[in-house]
Amino acid sequence: MASLPFFQLFINGDEDMSLRESMENKDIALIDILDVILDKGVAIKADLVISIAGVDLVYLDLRLLIASVESLVQSKQETRKTVSSEQFDTQREELINATGQPNKWKN
């Protein structure tokens, strides 16, 4: 049997048909089939998934935001409860610097 170089198969073959044929023989995923043959059935289902996912995301986002604000407030409150006089002074300094108010304690 004469051995043919591999690339000759392509040269001899009808190159124009190869792309279409390779596509045609590709395995099709279930989702592609359902997308086509179920139409409305899956469209309704997809809508449901999308809207549920959407609600979930918004809900999660809000929860995260609320949680982070809550923990911020909580940690501030805890600091206030256990504040030492040094900490208090430092915080007062910071507050004064941040607000740009004159430091009346110095007077």
Partner: protein
């Protein structure tokens, strides 16, 4: 016996008389497919037990039994595919059932002329589907880096106190996301318009969430085209070119076909 009739597709009667009808198993895996000539149109059907395949039962199975759905969806797809390779076929949606032969005949007769013009439209043409997916993270980086407005905003935010940065960064994220969606749509639409040059018709379909596709990247575009057979190769080559040019920047193109002309055969 008063059984249900499962309709796979419709073909021109003259094509059926010209060649022998293949032997194919029906939806229940027991009966065979057969034809019902209704004037110039012939229906390809199989019989089903009305007890076992009531409307409610089928709906229940579609919604709750993924294995059943997978098996039957593949059966429907494969059967219709085989038939569309032999005949000019109007494919019917999954689980199109008629109560009896008379109701099927009435339905076909009342749509006779529309069906005949559908045959004329789809004969010698193929349906192809294109789904475009995007790696949003990769694209996001490009959008946020190449967009001067976003760059300036980021610079501005870095100078703000930490507490303010949190909210401003959230706002910036929203801006980047909306710019990203706009960019993705603009590019996809441009591609769709270019591809329509190869096609007789092109329709845009809804995209699917990643919950449904099970993919990490997002489906950005979903469209179908009716293409004359000689143009299909050019159409696919064009898609291959997009893939080559855009793969590295986060775009993926998935063409499937040829499909029976599901999207170009509606006559309701």
């Amino acid at each position: 016996m008063c059984g249900l009739i499962y309709l796979y597709g419709l073909i021109p009667t003259k094509e059926e008389t010209n060649q022998s009808f293949p032997s194919l198993k029906g939806f229940d895996g027991i009966g065979d497919l057969y034809t019902i000539p209704i004037g110039s149109i012939t229906a390809i059907v199989c019989n089903l037990d009305p007890e076992e395949y009531s409307e409610n039962r089928i709906k229940e199975l579609i919604n709750n039994d993924i294995e059943w759905l997978q098996e039957k969806a593949f059966h429907h797809h494969e059967t219709v595919m085989k038939l569309s390779k032999i005949f000019t076929l109007i494919p019917l949606k999954f689980c199109t059932l008629y109560k009896n032969r008379e109701s099927l005949e009435t339905a076909v007769q009342s749509n006779d002329s529309k069906m005949m013009s559908t045959f004329a439209l789809i004969k010698g043409n193929e349906e192809w589907n294109l789904k475009i997916y995007c790696d949003d993270q990769l694209l996001k980086d490009q959008v946020s880096q190449s967009n001067p407005v976003i760059e300036a905003k980021r610079e501005e935010i870095s100078k703000l106190p930490k507490g303010k940065q949190f909210f401003e960064k959230k706002k910036l994220d929203k801006l980047i996301n909306s710019e990203l969606e706009e960019e993705k749509n603009k590019v996809s639409e441009g591609i769709h318009l270019e591809l329509k040059h190869f096609a007789l018709k092109g329709n845009v379909k809804r995209t699917w969430s990643s919950d449904v596709t099970g993919r990490k990247d997002n489906m950005t575009w979903n469209s179908v085209y009716l293409i004359s057979k000689p143009e299909v190769e050019h159409f696919l080559k064009q898609i291959q070119q997009y893939e080559k040019d855009m793969k590295e920047i986060g775009w993926q193109f998935e063409a499937t076909g040829p499909w029976p002309a599901y999207h170009f055969s509606s006559f309701s």
